[in-house]
Amino acid sequence: MEYSVKVDAFEGPLDLLLHLIQGLEIDIYDIPMADISEQYMLYIRAMKVLELNLASEYLVMASTLLAIKSRMLLPKHEESWEQDEEAFEEEDPRDELVERLIEYRKYKQAAAELKEKEQERGSFYTKAPVDLSQFEAQKQDSLEDMQIDLHDLLGAFNKLLRRKKLKKPMSARISRQEVSIEKRMEEILSDLRSRRAPSLFHEMFPVTEKPHMVVSFLAVLELMKRNEITIKQEGNFSDILVEAFEGVNLVAQP
């Protein structure tokens, strides 16, 4: 099996080290170098086993760890006249590493807080500005007066991508499926027949919901085309009357 997946399980060697320190519950100011290098090497080895794309920084860190470890194993120069000064420990070979770890950890923590803020910000909605270009055109500014740069352009684009969109109307879609034209034709026809007297045109639209009204209208047109109903109007602006033809019993299927 091939593992060509590029994996960023850790954000680099410092991240990995922090993880190890935490996992081993050791004091970051007093890192047991032998343990930590051993664990670190285990990870490196594991990543190699998986043929993961191991960034060169991991290897550099590996050699740094080994170097520190060996420096700590070296016997201290104990020249007799310096013995009293042991309290003044000579510089700890780990210092620089610890400093880097602590510095990195600050920003890793800050990144976590930014992530929280990112989510929080995503949970409320702002709106797009009203298009005010109609007033803009009247504003006579030279290009030089515009205080914008490329980053404003990118920022605006990012904002656009973040903007929420209205979901496709859920209930409208459902109701359209609920009433088919065929079904509506049957309804209208049986309605008209049961009345035996002409109906007013607006009575064809009992539900004032757009999809339903459209379906009703199409149903009326189709019924006219098939000569199932007839439509009359006495004069301009008088009521439009709808009536079923006599003697037709079925809505013919197309």
Partner: protein
């Protein structure tokens, strides 16, 4: 019966729906009330907007949907806002449009509107009149719609030698969510380590 507690929810829904508007059926679905009730709720809210003189927006009904809009008597103030020197000359709408033209040129107005989700004729006009974009040919097909592209002034203004110097738009440069990858990593690692460790031991 009007239920005051819905007012806040309806207002937020109208606000979020924006120009696309909110229909009675959407409202009834979200609030889980009947269409009749939804209609009563929204009409009561509509009245209360127009009655309150400390409100600058009201509820308008357009093509069967409801949306928030600024009250008509506020127009002079809004005009003043745009004309004020404190307002940058290029509105958000124009900036967005410019960004889309810059990165997707040549592009028709329709395609821009698809991306932005709103009418874009005015921002296009503004940008053309400022000389930042121009008519750059005609699209294939029936409509032969105008294709827009950026101008020399655009490059000048943003200090670019040519379009290749625009910062790359890397929508997903960093790939998918890190977590998934991590999981994948650990699962595959465990699998392969299991085998290998055994082999080595032998």
């Amino acid at each position: 019966m009007h239920n005051r507690k819905f007012d806040a929810v309806i207002e937020s829904l109208l606000f979020a729906a924006g120009d696309e508007g909110l229909s009675i059926s959407q409202l009834s679905a979200v609030l889980d009330i009947s269409m009749q009730e939804a209609e009563i709720e929204i009409n009561t809210l509509k009245e209360s907007y127009s009655e309150q003189h400390n409100r600058g927006i009201h509820l308008v009904e357009l093509a069967g949907t409801y949306q928030l809009a600024t009250k008509r008597e506020m127009t002079p103030y809004i005009k003043k806002l745009v004309e004020s020197p404190a307002t940058s000359t290029l509105s958000q709408a124009a900036l967005e449009t410019l960004a889309i033209v810059a990165y997707r040129q040549p592009i028709t107005r329709m395609s821009i509107e698809e991306i932005r989700g709103v009418k874009t004729d005015r921002p296009l006009q503004t940008l053309v009149s400022k000389g930042l974009i121009k008519d750059a040919g005609r699209a294939e097909g029936a409509g032969r719609a105008i294709l827009y592209g950026t101008t020399h002034e655009f490059l000048d203004y943003f200090g670019l030698n040519d379009l290749s110097q625009l910062p790359p738009l890397t929508e997903d440069l960093d790939g998918a969510d890190g977590d998934e990858e991590t999981d994948l990593f650990f699962r595959s690692l465990q699998n392969s380590l299991g085998e290998e460790a055994l082999e080595d031991k032998e």
